[in-house]
Amino acid sequence: MICILLFLPVLLGAVVLLLNNKIVTRTSLLLLPLIYIAVTMLVWSGLNWIILPGWLNVFFRFDSIGILFLGVMSVVFLASSIYSIFYFDEHECSVQQEAVYTVTMFLFVAAMAGVLISTHLALMWVFVEATTLTSALLIYFEKKKSSLEAAWKYIYICSIGITLAFVGIIILSIGSRSFNSLFFSDLYAHASEINPFWLQISFAFILVGFGTKIGVAPIHAWLPDAHSEAPSPVSAMLSGTLLNTAFLGLIRVQGIMIEAHRDSFSNFLLLITGFLSLLISAVFMLQIKNYKRMLAYSSIENMGILFIGIALGKPGIFAAMILLVAHSFSKTSLFLTSGNILNIFKTKKIENIRGLLKKDSFTGWIWIISLLSISGLPPFPAFIAKFLIAKAFFIAGLGWLAIPFFILLAIILYGMGGAVFKMSFDDNEIEITETVHLTYHAYLGQILMLILLIAIGTNLPETVLSILKSAASFIY
């Protein structure tokens, strides 16, 4: 299973490059996410063959939280792959370009899978850095001036940030000299032996490092640029899976803090960065001009809420897991739809887009429904998550923090909702004569996401609930 996740993308990528054939490329682009989903399901049902040699096998393992993240990643990957086909057709990509895109995407996904199943802190770091390197090429895929700038900012800022996380890892190994191991299982088992001073410094460094990758304020500078300049299916992958992946790294380190009973320190830092992200996002959301950047700031907001969630202890982390799923699916749907809008209107400026519903009613409705989903209205799961986080504030004895929390959320919703409704409805001044019809690839991914969201939100299936619960019980 681990072999499939890590090596199949590389193999399949080699095949794609060698054959350089349009049908092979597109088939494998759709095949890999399906295989990933199948692997996730099999592993969850308890089946797991191991064909790796023993010395390699100790570095990889599936655990409950990893499976949740893997499942979310695979589903988002499927939606993004379906949309990529539409993207190729619309941009008239050459066979060569399609192959390069597909191979880079495969390596990117394999690197993310590596982060999710690593059992060693430094190895996980290696994979996180690998996700940066592979996705930078995808951001630059359109080869425009602006996408080059975004890619440079992304790769440089994230590399420096991630390097600081490595400083944190070395510092952690200073503190853990007594048992001299950076395997998570050892770190959890011997957490109380780690020197608290070095542990806290190390957490601060790792928070900055992985925080850069997660895109929380004040180290989010790359995020709006990269998300707005990447091709839409890549933006969906960045927002729906990459941020989660780095977030998992941070959760695992937070697990060490909890085991070492130093979580009051880490929770404090997480709360501050979380609220700062909400604040930054709210400030920029009020004067937003570019709808893809708007979605990027919304990602910063949601990552901030996730930070607040895990800082609030046991009830918060369960809420955070629900929000993570809700955010990934809704944001994927939003980013893919933003690709449709870009395709219809050829602009990213909100002010130039009016009457989306008349122009292409299907895109318009998906756009609006996805907004409702991300903003946490019932019946969508983000509602449950935000409700549970509000509850967690009171359980943690920080009820007063719920007030600024909801005020900031309301400001963000006001900014985002205003923009979305202006784009969709406001069509008094302009005459829209022709309607646009895109191929079904342009809608399939989003519809899949919205169906899943409504299914989770209205009637949480037992399996999903148990996956969420066991993931949440991972660190407490």
Partner: protein, 211 residues
């Protein structure tokens, strides 16, 4: 012997602060790589031989030869061997460098005093390298100097990991090296593209994207 090497590594940072030509950055990088190689060899008794062979090859071949040569070729090809163009003048940079050194020494003394399980001199100088390279990144206009300072940062982290003398598994060492290699390669690719498309190599020209 290893103490002298560490001191030389520290001095190389002062040299970089004072240097005004970009090529001297590359030479310093090669020197640092070689010094790290000697340090690894001198620590021979502490680590097992596969790891030491790997680290020796990594420092000597990659850090001291391949990456500096690669960057030197890029610099010569693009004819940007002249000034480094700092934001803050050389004099104030030197003052700040002294401040960083004082901090590094305090950290070294402190780590020796509290009995932290690190080698104090290694620890102090590696902190100097890390902070100084971050300062240089902020204080330089040219994109190529950003890439060079990233390498200095990597060297600082390598020294920090030597100060702990905790060995990482082989797989991790390999992965870190691969990431570094691909990272530098991609940096240079993007750097070349920026020169082509933006017609310049200052970080100030990247102004396409803002809110």
């Amino acid at each position: 012997m290893s103490n002298i090497l560490i001191i030389l590594l520290g001095t190389s940072i002062l040299y970089i602060f004072a240097a005004s030509r970009i090529e001297s950055y590359v030479k310093t990088l090669a020197f640092q790589g070689f010094a790290l190689f000697l340090l690894v060899i001198l620590d021979l008794k502490e680590i097992n031989w596969i790891n030491i062979a790997f680290l020796a090859i990594e420092t000597l071949v990659v850090k001291a030869i391949v990456i500096p040569l690669f960057l030197l070729r890029v610099i010569r090809k693009n004819e940007i061997g002249r000034e480094v163009e700092p934001y803050i003048s050389q004099f104030y940079s030197m003052l700040i460098a002294s401040g960083i050194f004082i901090f590094g020494f305090v950290a070294a003394f402190w780590s020796a005093k509290v009995g932290a399980e690190v080698k104090p001199l290694y620890f102090g100088v590696s902190i100097v390298l890390i902070i100084a390279s971050l300062f240089l990144i902020v204080n330089r206009k040219r994109i190529i100097t950003h890439i060079l300072c990233y390498m200095i940062l990597e060297n600082g982290i390598f020294l920090l990991s030597l100060s702990v003398a905790n060995e990482m598994p082989m797989l991790v060492n390999l992965g870190v090296l691969l990431d570094l290699f691909v990272g530098i390669y991609l940096f240079v690719i993007f750097f070349n593209k920026i020169q082509e498309m933006f017609d310049g190599n200052h970080i100030d020209i990247l102004t396409e994207l803002k809110d």
